[in-house]
Subunit: 318 residues, 2 copies
């Protein structure tokens, strides 16, 4: 008998990755299509369905697809819609993405949520959070996302948008402007963009020598490379970033008492510089009853597959 398989789709601003995934978390077939060449959602969905049918055929999986999981910016689990996603050309209004895609895919059920929630489900199904019922996933990418799992279920809240921990307040007074329109958000400090901004600010404010001074434009990757070469300022930037993140993680622990915090995303690659300051700030700021007890772990999903795996994991729950 044919094996049960699922499809995972990660909708990004520029490209959309999709793959056929088996129950052990192996991406059997995958492909990428562009997102940003479409002004309207319908032709995009049509090309997406074509791409899916192609990889399903390549995987010899016709008739074996149990469900489709989608991770998308501003994806609402309850409605299956993408709501006001500024990074998607066709996403400015409410787009009934799950419904449209299911129609194009002969009624295969489609489950949709935002990318960070999808990552949390992926980690619970195939990764570092296997067997955990209570954990918080923090994605440290261009922005800071989060997926909160309580009692084995992702928290969606009253309206489907719960888990915006990147926009909780990290710096109350004179905090940096965040893309969301607020000031002082965690994302403004602990994202890739936040780290680059810290670097620029510190280079301007001090005379401290640094490899970073020779660069025209600084990215968080540059800061990481400099830190690896022993650049003291770069190391201090990660200490600062880790401290701010650890302080907020303490708050989050007091909310839902998770077994672990799982870190994921490009910035998490700098773990040799981030782990210690995060752990220290977390322990200094949390109630004694949790001190030293909440694990700080890193994603175990292969980075190139993680987005597809996360989304695909949603489909197993259908």
């Amino acid at each position: 008998m044919a094996q049960d398989l699922v499809i995972g789709i990660d909708v990004g601003g520029q490209t959309t990755k999709c793959g056929v995934v088996d129950a052990r978390g192996t991406v059997v077939e995958q492909t990428v299509i562009r997102t940003d060449t479409y002004e309207e959602v319908e032709p995009f969905i049509a090309e997406l369905a074509e791409a899916l049918n192609r990889i399903v055929a390549e995987a010899k999986a016709e008739g074996c697809i149990r469900g489709i999981g989608v991770g998308a910016p501003n994806g609402n689990y309850y409605t299956g819609a993408i709501e006001s996603a500024p990074n998607l050309k066709w996403g400015h209004h409410k787009v009934e993405f799950a419904k449209l895609l299911s129609e194009q895919m002969n009624g295969i059920p489609v489950s949709l949520t935002n990318d960070a929630n999808a990552a949390a489900v992926g980690e619970m199904t195939y990764g570092a959070a296997r067997g955990m019922k209570n954990f918080i996933m923090i994605t440290l990418g261009t922005g800071v996302g989060s997926g909160i799992v309580i009692d084995g279920k992702v928290v969606y809240g009253h309206d489907g948008f719960a888990g915006e921990l990147g926009h909780t307040c990290a710096v109350r007074h004179n905090g940096r402007a965040c893309n969301c329109g607020k000031n002082g958000c965690l994302e403004a400090y602990c994202s890739a963009i936040g780290v680059a901004r810290t670097a620029r600010e510190w280079l301007e404010m001090t005379d401290e020598p640094s490899l970073l001074r020779s660069l025209d434009k600084i990215s968080s990757k540059d800061v990481y490379e400099a830190a690896k070469e022993g650049d003291k300022l770069a190391v201090k930037i990660f200490e600062y970033t880790g401290r701010i993140l650890g302080e907020k993680l303490a708050d989050f622990i007091e909310f839902s008492a998770p077994e672990a915090i799982v870190l994921f995303g490009g910035l998490a690659r700098a773990k040799e510089f981030l782990t210690e300051p995060i752990q220290k700030a977390m322990d200094e700021n949390v109630l004694a009853l949790w001190r030293g007890k909440v694990k700080l772990v890193y994603s175990q999903l292969k980075e190139s597959d993680a987005a597809i795996l996360g989304a695909s994991a949603l489909a197993w729950e259908l």
Copy 2:
């Protein structure tokens, strides 16, 4: 046939209130015993069982008691134990309270949690949160407690102690020392004790005239009375308190996207001075998608019955 009834017990540092409650939330019989005259838990439980049997007899409810719910400081829902409760003379170690009480009560099942979680269940069963699946209860008493409800269930977390929002950080730098040993906790500002402390600090720091200057010792109740008489300083103290609470509520909304925040406790009586600053700070600090959408409501339980009702509501879930 006899009606199903439950027992609610609120264990406090000085007294323990208990009552027989019907399905509509009427406290049919109630009594109070002292907590602080016992050094050991066994004789306390023996007297408690005696008191319970007495009110059950008075309610003519022998054989009708479906379960017993207990709200107690540091009560752990998973284990039924009270763990390291500094305010209970017999509570310094782990006390298997639910098990001991059930044994004394002929095996009637006993469910136990902390007082704020009990209050949340009470509000969901009989009060302002009836029909709500996602809300956060904040108890503004001597301290600041919280009970978080997601998908119709109280969040207990990995270890049973989730929902310590009173100890999330409200003031990061030079924050007030909190009883928990940390600095800057929400509880150090937005509890009855916090309000009294704000009053003392402000009276010392400024020359502003105030009715409060004539008092030897200031309680939060004094500040409330003064505000009601139009005392400007007292009104400003509530504005400050409300702003700090509203700022943190915004963070909490970004965590679990609740339908409502429910406020409860002695300090919540000052709602005519607190509501506006709380709402304003909440809306200014939350992501646009929730602005003006999350209800701020006050407990609908009669204050004298609330503790018993909250605890009793746990028993219906047994």
